[in-house]
Amino acid sequence: MQLGRMILRRMLWVFPVAFGVVTLTFFMARVFNGDPTELYVPPEATDALRAQIRARLGLADPIPIQYINYLWDLLRFDLGISFTTGQSVASDLWDRLPATLELGLVGLSLGIAVGIPLGVMAAVYRERWPDFLVRGVTLGGMALPQFWVGLVLISIFFVSLRILPGPVGRLPIGVPLPIKITGFLLIDTLLAGDPALWWQAVRQLALPALTLGFSTASPIARVTRSAMVEAMQSDYIRTAIAMGHGRRVVWFRYSLRNALLPVVTLIGGVAGHIFAGAVLLESIFAWPGLGQYALQSIERSDFAALQGFVIYASLLYVLAFLLVDLLYMFIDPRIRA
């Protein structure tokens, strides 16, 4: 009952956040970026043509009127038309979403699968060499720019060793996409019954996913480590040891579950960022996802596309934290009450 109310309140919070973010983006884009008409007309165009195009782009009205129009469209779930692609922003986002999700899911899973065990190991061997090793490597993972890690991996695995393909997107150049069913290439290629294509998709995905995995595993390992260390110093762990439980039970059953709370919060935040599209990563690997779309919309002053993306990203952020709250209740009985 109370639980339901809390979730409902969380979900309703989406609306003020979305409204605030939309307003912020709308005015920022227009005040800062000025009139993008010049980007879309030939330089020799007449004033009449300019005016015509300006009107077509929806930029002829005074800004407050544009704002009200935009909000009105939003209420009807219309995100407007992108200047650059000529498509509706909603369908643009929808088309690019699977690429970002696929990369994000694989990268995040890698990060969790590697980060949590590393963090546990560091905590268990606290102040001994495995701990120092994990702390050193993860410090590097946090301190290195993601785009640089990507470049180095390309330089090693593609340029030098030639065992993985170059950064040309989700499939090698010239290879047609399979019929779109889920949008996830790792699934669609199998549904199409084409394991060779599946393998190509896996190889294309390998480097960006590794890069993402490395940079997500690092903070996850560090937070896991410090939460584990704290849990292992608690009274209830002392009890478990005093009752004769072995180390493995103490670490993995009695400490880890308590230590997961801050880790879940972190993963929620990281997921919010990743699924909003890792802009630089996608740009390096020519990955046709939302991050590239956002970058392009900024470079081309594509207002509707930019606003649409920002709405998506902020909703995702709120949703991620809603999910974190739900997981919290699953993990920690004290919150359930």
């Binding site: 973010v21 301190a143 902020s314």
Partner: protein
């Protein structure tokens, strides 16, 4: 474990069972603090040195033939245009270090000031500020920086302002939470009773007692700012195209990576790692030291 026979100092780490929270482990030698501070001092020294001396002029192309591999003449090689990488790297310290430090200083000052007011007075204004901050934080930070810099154009001042703006909400929240929790503590009441005006209670009595977590965060935030600076530079949004900023140097070397001239992108990345790593180490050490549970 033959405790009675082993030499004593080894034992603290060996008997790894359980530490009640009030008991310290064998105290740390603060190596993280020392290494972190050491790295940052090194970077400051390089930045200062680059003002008076670099092996070659960092801005002049054509010193080498272009894509010269690392050699005695060019220890880190040259870039596509033949500019010396070591000289550019040294000059880059001025930009990346200067930008992130300045941005963090501004964010720290503005954020904690607003946060202290909000936390001390509470009420509607506080709630309104918090809600605003929450909305702003739902906005992807790097995207915000990209949007603004793209709009107002490249330039050091613009980058600094944007970075500090992105950082302000975190400081605001941190300071607010600390002050809010402490404003009714006895020493605050005592300070009020002897006639201190509210601003004095907040800034002279409460803030200094709350600054520990804020300072630790400052170091982490500086690392983040350095990374965003490099990211903007990489996207070509930050500074002028020939500025020896590490992120834009990596971008300039991107083509070389594909053809085997890895050094142009490689070394600036290491430079960034050293700087952000130094900040992180310092931040970790500071939050260890200022953690109230470990303070005695």
């Amino acid at each position: 474990m033959k405790i009675a026979k082993a030499p004593l100092p080894l034992l603290a780490a060996e008997s790894a069972a359980v530490v009640p929270r009030h008991v310290r482990r064998k105290p740390k030698s603060y190596w993280a603090l020392r290494i972190g501070a050491g790295i940052l001092i090194f970077y400051v020294a390089v930045a200062l040195l680059s003002l008076v001396w670099t092996p070659y002029d960092p801005l002049t192309p054509g010193i080498g033939d272009g894509y010269d591999a690392p050699s005695l003449a060019f220890p880190l090689g040259t870039d596509r245009l033949g500019a010396d990488m070591l000289s550019r790297l040294m000059a880059g310290a001025r930009y990346d270090l200067g930008i992130s430090l300045t941005a963090v200083a501004i964010a720290l000052t503005v954020g904690t000031t607003i946060g202290t007011f909000a936390g001390y007075y509470g009420g509607k204004l506080d709630t309104a500020i918090l809600r605003g901050v929450e909305i702003f934080q739902a906005f992807p930070g790097l995207l915000f920086a990209m949007l603004v810099v793209q709009a107002v154009g490249p330039g050091i001042v613009n980058v600094i302002l944007v970075l500090s703006f992105v950082g302000i909400p975190d400081y605001l929240r941190l300071a607010r939470v600390e002050i809010h929790a402490k404003r009714h503590w006895q020493y605050a009441e005592a300070a009020r009773m002897v006639g201190n005006p509210p601003w004095r209670v907040a800034f002279r009595h409460l803030l200094p007692n709350s600054i520990g977590p804020v300072l630790a965060f400052t170091s982490i935030n500086a690392a983040f700012s350095a990374l965003v600076t490099a990211s903007l530079g990489f996207l070509g949004l930050g500074l002028g195209p020939n500025t020896p900023e590490w992120g834009s140097m990596i971008a300039r070397g991107q083509d070389g990576v594909m053809t085997g001239q890895w050094w142009v992108s490689f070394f600036p990345g290491l430079a960034i790692m050293g700087l952000t790593g130094g900040f992180y180490l310092l931040g970790d050490a500071l939050s260890d030291i200022t953690d109230p549970r470990r303070r005695q």
